[in-house]
Every structure is written in C-alpha cells, then in structure tokens.
C-alpha cells in the first residue's frame, strides 16, 4: 500500500484542488483529508457518510464552584494562566478555569485540598468514513478553537489505512495541512512520497524551503509542483533549480487558470471540468506522480 501526501507549507497554493483531482484520476484510491483545521475536500467530492465517530483528546479541568474553598492552590500551580479568581454574590472568593487556556495537565485537580476539581476528557471533533464518486473518503471536523489537530490527523490516516486494507486498495491520497507544525508532521511521517505544491512568489519559495526541510527531517522523498507558474516564470525557474539542487524532484507545472475557481464553484474537480488549461496540466502531473510511485 502506498501513501501519497500533498502538502504546501504556504496556504492557498492549490493543494486541495490538486488532491481532489488526483482522487478522481486514481479512481480506486482511498482519499484522506488531513487538513482537519480547514477540511475542504468534501465540498468537491460530495461524500455520503457511512460511518462516523467522536474524537476525544486530552483533558479539561473544571472547578465545582460550590465545593471550592477559595484557597488558590490551583491558580498558583497552573503554568498556563488558566485559573482565574471570581467573586460570588455573597462576596466569597472562588476560582474558575478558562477552558481555552487549560491544557489539561490535571495538576490542579491532583492538589486541590477540597477535591473540588473534575478532570474530564475533551471532545475535540468528529471523524467520518464516506463514499464518493471516486472511492472512499476519510475526513474529519475539528471543533472551533480545539487542540491536538495532530492527533486527529493520525486518526484519519489510521482509518484510511484500514479502509484501504479492507477494500484491497493500493493507494492512499492524503490532503495535508499548511504550515510545518503538528498537523503537518502527523500527515507526513511514514508516507511513501510527498508532493509539495508551491507558487512562484517570494512567500511560496520561502515556505517551500521550510516545509521541504521538514520532509527531509522525517526522511520522506519529496516532489515539487509549481502552481500558477506563469504568474512569475523567472521565479518558477529559480524554484525548480533550488528543488533539484536540494535533491528533490520537479513533478510538473500548473498554469494560472480561472477555471480552477469556476470548477470549485461548480463543486467539480478541475480535471472533470476541463481537459484544457490547468485541467490538462494536472493530468500530466498525475501521470508523472503515478510513474514515480510505481518505480
């Protein structure tokens, strides 16, 4: 079983549009949306949810005000500034926990002399296994302002592997997150290959360098595609030269094409929308990646 991960460093370079196109062109793959902060593949692939489940991760402390003695031990121990003082209508001082600042270490609960603090598991989101017109899609939604998106990414990848195994499918296409932090690392580790989608801008070039270093750090072979390459042909050449110099492969170029947005508005992938322009470029890119994955 092979796992192709598509990431970008910089956001908005066209990662999801390319991942969705690959899902359609592959036909028989499992697709996993690991950009759990801003999951968008479902908007194009129109999934029918078959299976779903809650995602819990970490803990959250809560003080039972009626049992709080107001000693303040919790506030002194908390390293995250999550415990605040409050005053009741009767003037009594008690403490309360800011759920957005609490990291769930449980220290306050352990040392509260009144045992007035409960520690419960935190609900962070939901995962789904769905059917689409191009095979199964594993996706998730992370609750607003939640933590641990890296753990949810790992869960989505695990489910995708199970689905692939059960269905005898040979390829998993993973749409990763932007950036270089925990969701990206969780998307990347142990993958067969990574396709980095960038754009010919100073930001694109800068972010490519950082995300490529992450791929190297985790020893995943990397291919690079410059999207909207004709916005700055000189910069495209420079990026491709850097890519080769750093021992990565150039996978192809996709031109700037307003049909990409038109396809998205029509809830289709660019390769279903047109065989010309960017639609043709993405097909060529897929053929090249297919060749790389079979070698």
């Amino acid at each position: 079983m092979k796992e192709l991960v598509i990431i970008s460093g910089k956001g908005g370079t066209g990662k999801t549009s390319i991942a969705a196109s690959f899902a359609v062109l592959a036909g028989n793959a499992v697709t996993a949306d690991c950009d759990v902060d801003a999951a968008d593949l479902h908007l194009v692939l129109a999934p029918q949810v078959q299976q779903r489940g809650g995602f819990r991760s970490g803990h959250e402390a809560r003080i039972r005000t009626e049992d709080c003695g107001g000693c303040g031990v919790c506030a002194r121990l908390c390293r995250f500034g999550a415990v605040g003082q409050q005053q009741g209508p009767d003037g009594a001082v008690t403490y309360a926990i800011d759920p957005l600042a609490c990291e769930g270490c449980g220290l306050c609960a352990r040392y509260c002399p009144q045992q007035a603090i409960d520690l419960k598991e935190r609900d962070c989101g939901e995962w789904f296994v769905s059917e689409t017109r191009c095979g199964p899609l594993v996706h998730a939604s992370l609750d607003a302002a939640a933590e641990n998106s890296g753990k949810l990414v790992s869960l989505v990848r695990d489910k995708a592997r199970t689905v692939a195994k059960e269905g005898g499918r040979e390829l998993i296409i993973v749409d990763g997150a932007p950036g270089i932090g925990c969701p990206v690392i969780a998307s990347l580790t142990g993958a067969t290959a990574v396709l980095i989608v960038t754009e010919p801008t100073v930001s694109g070039a800068h972010d490519l360098e950082r995300v490529a270093a992450v791929a190297r750090h985790f020893a995943v072979p990397a291919w690079v595609c410059v999207n909207k390459w004709d916005l700055n042909p000189g910069m495209t050449e420079q990026i491709e030269a850097t890519v080769r110099r750093q021992g990565m492969q150039v996978a192809g170029r996709v031109r700037y094409d307003r049909d990409v947005t038109a396809a998205q508005v029509a809830a289709r992938t660019i390769v279903e929308f047109t065989v010309n322009g960017a639609g043709g470029d993405v097909r060529a890119l897929w053929l090249e990646m297919g060749r790389c994955l079979t070698v």
Partner: protein
C-alpha cells in the same frame, strides 16, 4: 489596540493585507507595529525588509531525570497525562516534544529526581521597517507546537498604539494564541466554496473566543456571492472588497507592497484603516451594513 488579521483558509491574502495596512497606518501618522505570529511560515519580512535589532531564543522547559537520584518508583510516568514520560521497566524515558511543561512530574517525584531544563523551540526577532515596528517568530524545523513561539512574539512585540498581528491560518491552538484578547479580528476570505466554508469555521472560532470580527473579501469578483450573503445574514461587517487583479498577484510574487505597486490600493487601504478605527471605537461589532469597494 491589537488588530489581528486571520483566516480559516490559507493563502487568502492575510500577509498582504497585514503588511500593507501597517505601512498605510504609519503613513497616516499612527504608531504601529507589524507582528508576525504565523511562526510556522513567517512571510511579512519578505515585504517589509525590516532591520532586525534583537534575536531571542524561545525556550520551553522539559523534565530531565537525574538517573543517580531516581529510584524507579514510576510516579512521574503515572501523573503525566501527555505521555511525555513513559515507563520503561525501571526508568522513565522523556519525549520532550510531547511535554507541555506543566511540572506534574517534578512535583510528583518523591526523590526530587526531576529537574526542568530549558529547550529551544524557536526564535523571536524584533526591529523596525521605516516607521513600522516589527516582530516575528520562527518555529524550529521539526518542532510540533507553535503556541509558545506565538506567545513569545506577542510579548516581545513593540509596545505601540496599534499592533497589527498576522495570524496563522486555521482554527486550532496556534490561531487561538495569536488572536486572544485582540480588539478586532479581520477575517480575510475569498468568494469561493472553500473560502466560505473556512470562513464559517473561523467565525465560529472567533465567537467562541469572544473577539469582535469583521471581514475583508479578497479577489472579490472571482467566485459567487455566497460569502456576501453569509456576512449579511450573520451581521458581520464587510470592511473592504479587493478585486482580483493580476498586477496584485504579480507584485506579491516579487515581494512588493501592493500599495506601491498598484495605483488606487493606497487610497483603498487608507479607507479600510479609517473603518478599522471606527470599528474599534464602537467596541463590539454590531451592524452588518457597512460596505465598501475598492
């Protein structure tokens, strides 16, 4: 005042807006700093070319087990809820990247065999670009957790009247660290299905944090009108619409500021700045009828 520029979706133009807005505010005589909290991929420096006056490492603490003092009771591993200390038969093994630095293990150890050591996870740089103050953070490659670096940038940022915070994309903990306690969060979006979907998520996040919000629509003429309708329904003010313009994209690709490269943008952003000052002066955002076009 702290104005954060954020978005659910990446690549909608946060950095473009934040850098150009900082320049325009300075031109209008405001004391302003640009604060790059997108520490995984900080890009503002590519447009502002700041002079960096100070570099400071960002450190977090992680436990170190003093092997000659540890008697192998295993209490530290039992109290660690992050699995950053794992019990391996006789001795604990520390996984620094999982550690949140809560000190539970330090306090739990009956032998006082655990000490905290600093570990560098990034760097904060401060300086200036002309009249604009500058601060940025950079997460070390391979590190997973960016919020400590985000918090470090915010505390090292120049103390001026107006801080413009360039937030990371998404809706999870790094964004929360960047926008908490801001006086206004401007969500940059584009009128596409992805843009709208991610805007909804960002709005839910900001409402949960209780920060006032407004929207700027970038590439305003490329998709459909669903973002406009959504903002009207939710009574979220749209402060500016920036039309799709290949000249903006090309100037951006070369690292040029939009206000100098494209005629008309300076006046548009000055108008935006005035509307931002109005929004902040009015306190929480209520109405949804303010509209403006470039």
């Amino acid at each position: 005042m702290r104005i954060a520029i954020a978005s659910g979706k990446g690549g909608t133009g946060k950095t473009t807006l934040a850098t150009n807005l900082a320049v325009v505010a300075a031109e209008l005589g405001r004391q302003v700093a640009y604060v790059d909290c997108d520490v995984e991929e900080p890009n503002g420096h590519l447009f502002l070319h700041p002079t960096i006056a100070r570099h400071a490492p960002v450190q977090v603490v992680t436990p170190q087990v003093l092997e000659d003092v540890c008697d192998g009771c295993g209490q530290c591993a039992r109290v660690c809820l992050f699995s950053a200390l794992v019990w391996l038969g006789q001795k604990p093994l520390v996984f620094p990247e999982l550690c949140h630095g809560c000190a539970a293990c330090v306090l739990a150890c009956p032998k006082h065999a655990i000490v905290e050591r600093p570990r560098e996870v990034g760097v904060v740089e401060t300086g200036s670009s002309g009249a604009v103050g500058f601060a940025q953070g950079r997460l070390t490659i391979g590190e997973a957790k960016s919020p400590p670096v985000v918090r470090a940038v915010r505390s090292a940022a120049p103390r001026v009247d107006w801080q413009i915070i360039d937030a990371p994309p998404g809706t999870s903990c790094p964004v929360v660290a960047a926008v908490r306690h801001c006086d206004l969060v401007i969500l940059v979006t584009e009128p596409t299905p992805f843009g709208l979907h991610d805007l909804r998520l960002a709005v839910a996040t900001m409402r949960r944090l209780g920060v006032p919000i407004a929207v700027v629509i970038n590439r305003a003429d490329v998709g459909d009108d669903r973002v406009d309708r959504y903002c009207a329904e939710e009574a979220i003010p749209v402060l500016l619409r920036i039309p799709d313009d290949r000249r903006v994209a090309e100037a951006y690709s070369r690292g040029e500021l939009m206000v100098t490269a494209v005629p008309g943008m300076r006046a548009a952003l000055r108008g935006l700045w005035e509307r931002i000052e109005e929004q902040v002066a009015n306190g929480t955002v209520a109405g949804g009828s303010q509209h403006a076009n470039v």
